[in-house]
């Protein structure tokens, strides 16, 4: 009894309090398992949102999964998602975030505060507001055309329909860089100044100091960051949907939008579930790779 009290003085002394405290966690866990199991089960059915098959659905085995590979939509959306994730998150946000963190930490000026506020704004703005801003900026009558393209004597370009995926990618870089910036700022703070100076005395050029000393030291932070932003970007929905709706055509249709359209546009809940399970597996596999990276090399 004495031991118990030592471990957790006031919680452990009252079992009911303990149960009460853990209840929210249990409920959350139960809900998670329930929804995952739900999606998993219905991915083997032909359930639809409305009509006859919303009530009289039947098991169809792996038919939905076969369709992922045989019908066009899924693989195209997967490719779009890979491009989008690679360029906006892995290249854009993380490289830009690292460069900003690296250069700004030595500057102690108003410029730093200005840039920090600017990138934080992108992060804090609601997706829908951000989408509106970007669409207003890049449309045929938008800011870029009015300020740059037209004055230079060119015909206005409708960026959002002619370069949908690049615009969405850049918008997401703008939106998500703050996270990488904050994470890398903290990571760089954890690198001892003397270690970097030792490398300098040892004759390392600035590039070698980054590549051979700083980056290896913050490797776990890089992997953590990759893990987060890959998961987020891979399943990212609102900004793209609000900006382009996946269009024009299917140019900016990522998996999240494809799934949404199949499930709620076309109403094929069974197929939509299969898409979401597939997304879950892909993201899970990527996470495993990153978690490997997180571990110390032998």
């Amino acid at each position: 009894m004495a031991m118990k009290n030592q471990i957790n003085p006031w919680l452990a002394s009252n079992v009911w309090l303990l149960v009460l405290g853990m209840l929210p966690a249990f409920l959350l866990l139960a809900a998670l398992i329930y929804f995952t199991a739900w999606a998993f089960s219905f991915s083997f059915t032909d359930l639809e949102l409305v009509g006859r098959k919303s009530v009289n659905w039947s098991w169809v085995g792996f038919e939905n999964y076969v369709r992922l590979w045989t019908r066009k939509g899924f693989l195209d959306a997967l490719w779009t998602t890979v491009i989008f994730t690679f360029f906006s998150a892995i290249v854009g946000q993380s490289v830009l975030g690292f460069l900003l963190a690296g250069t700004l930490r030595t500057t102690k000026s108003n410029l730093r505060s200005f840039i920090e506020v600017a990138i934080m704004l992108g992060w804090l703005l609601p997706d829908i507001v951000a989408a509106f801003l970007w669409s207003a900026t890049t449309s045929q009558t938008g800011l870029i055309n009015n300020l740059i393209i037209t004055p230079l004597g060119f015909k206005p370009v409708n960026f959002i329909s002619e370069f949908a995926l690049p615009v969405v990618t850049i918008a997401n870089i703008w939106k998500g860089t703050a996270w990488s910036y904050l994470l890398f700022s903290a990571a760089l703070d954890s690198v001892s100044r003397e270690v970097v100076e030792a490398a300098k005395v040892d004759g390392a050029t600035p590039f070698q100091r980054i590549w051979l000393v700083i980056l290896p030291i913050i490797r776990p932070h890089i992997a953590t960051n990759m893990l987060f932003i890959t998961i987020w970007t891979f399943t990212y929905f609102p900004l793209i949907y609000a900006l382009t709706g996946g269009g024009p055509g299917r140019q900016s249709e990522t998996l999240a939008i494809f799934m949404y359209k199949q499930s709620f546009g076309t109403g094929k809940l069974g197929y939509g579930s299969a898409i979401s399970v597939a997304m879950l597996l892909i993201v899970g596999a990527l996470s495993l790779i990153y978690l490997r990276l997180l571990r110390e090399p032998k």
Partner: protein, 353 residues
């Protein structure tokens, strides 16, 4: 040639001056120790020699060549940092080999130099370990090893032993002394530790608030400090100071007793300094001070007793062995006029010769 010459070296951070003109010549092969209170600019000076800190004004020469604008690696220096600053993601071997590899040294030579340094420092068994798996003392050896393999003309140490425990510090101190003997390189060493300064240095540089107070051999500084600052700073146990009033060729001490002195500048004397080891207990008749014992610090080999005088002054007296004394008892303290230091009102020493 690996002498280091500082001429009028200034340093400011923004418009805050930190070093106000330092002139110093360090001879080739000399072991020079920088001491001074925290924040006086020791590290800053060392880092300017290392090329890690921009030189605001003045000139730094290494081996006769102005290096103000020469990048660190080309200065022929190696630095050992207080925090060891080992590369945490590299093995001990790679830590030591890093600089050589960057300099595109042939592999065989890298290997030979690393193993030679490891042998000198007795860290051969750990070459494949990561720094994380080493004790503080072992890490410090690796850091020294990393400096040695570069075969620098000048070694720079910034408080290299301050993270080690007392026993290890003593041991490593002796090893650094041996190393200086073996390598015959110039060494500049920053420390807080009186013992390190006294035992390692060929010459000690006492810094205070961005200025050099005195440069000299440990014994010179101990015997002839130029001012009260150096007198109070150097040596293990702080010097005692009491105010005095000159009277002819003798001095009146607080408490009324007088001592005779041969110092020709006695008329300017304002205070008298005497080290604890130069005070002793005597009888009433020959004593200069009388007071009560406030604290006894017993070290075994010797004891320090803190005496409160009637006028409120304090004296520290060092007594050999374990004297049989009791707190709050009255004692009579005598001094030897031959080893006292006299200072004028500005704290400058009045040299007797």
């Amino acid at each position: 040639m690996s002498d280091v010459q500082l001429t009028g070296v200034h340093k400011s951070y923004g418009n805050v001056p930190v070093l106000h003109g330092v002139d110093l010549t360090i001879k080739s092969g000399e072991f020079v120790v920088f001491v001074g209170p925290s924040g006086c600019g020791k590290s800053t000076l060392l880092r300017m020699i290392a090329g890690l800190e921009h030189i605001t004004g003045g000139e730094v020469k290494i081996g006769g060549k102005v290096v103000n604008d020469v990048p660190s690696p080309q200065r022929g220096i190696a630095m050992v940092f207080q925090s060891y600053a080992l590369y945490p993601h590299m093995s001990v071997y790679d830590n030591m080999a890093f600089g050589l590899k960057l300099a595109k040294t042939p592999k065989a030579e890298v290997d030979q130099r690393v193993r030679e340094a490891a042998r000198i420092l007795q860290i051969e068994p750990y070459l494949d370990r990561m720094p994380k798996a080493l004790s503080g003392g072992q890490r410090q050896r690796v850091a020294i090893g990393r400096a040695i393999v570069r075969q620098p003309k000048v070694f720079l140490f910034d408080e290299p032993l301050s993270n080690l425990d007392a026993a290890l510090r003593g041991q490593t101190r002796v090893e650094i002394a041996k190393l200086h003997d073996t390598l015959d390189a110039t060494m500049i060493y920053v420390t807080h530790d009186q013992v390190e300064a006294m035992t390692l240095a060929d010459r000690i540089v006492v810094l205070n608030a961005g200025r050099i107070e005195q440069v000299g051999t440990p014994l010179e500084l101990y015997r002839h400090p130029v001012n009260t600052f150096v007198a109070g700073f150097i040596a293990n146990h702080t010097m005692n100071f009491v105010n005095v009033t000159p009277k002819g060729s003798s001095l009146t001490l607080p408490g009324g007793k007088t001592i005779a002195t041969t110092n020709p500048q006695v008329a300017k004397a304002a205070s008298l300094g005497v080290r604890p080891e130069h005070l002793g207990l005597t009888d009433v008749a020959s004593a200069q001070f009388t007071g009560t014992i406030e604290v006894i610090e017993q070290f075994g080999e010797y004891a320090l007793i803190h005496v409160l005088l009637a006028d409120g002054n304090h004296l520290t007296v060092k007594l050999d062995g374990a004297p049989d004394l009791h707190l709050h008892t009255e004692v009579h303290v005598g001094l030897d006029p031959a080893v006292v230091h006299l200072f004028d009102a500005e704290g400058r020493a009045l040299r007797s010769v």
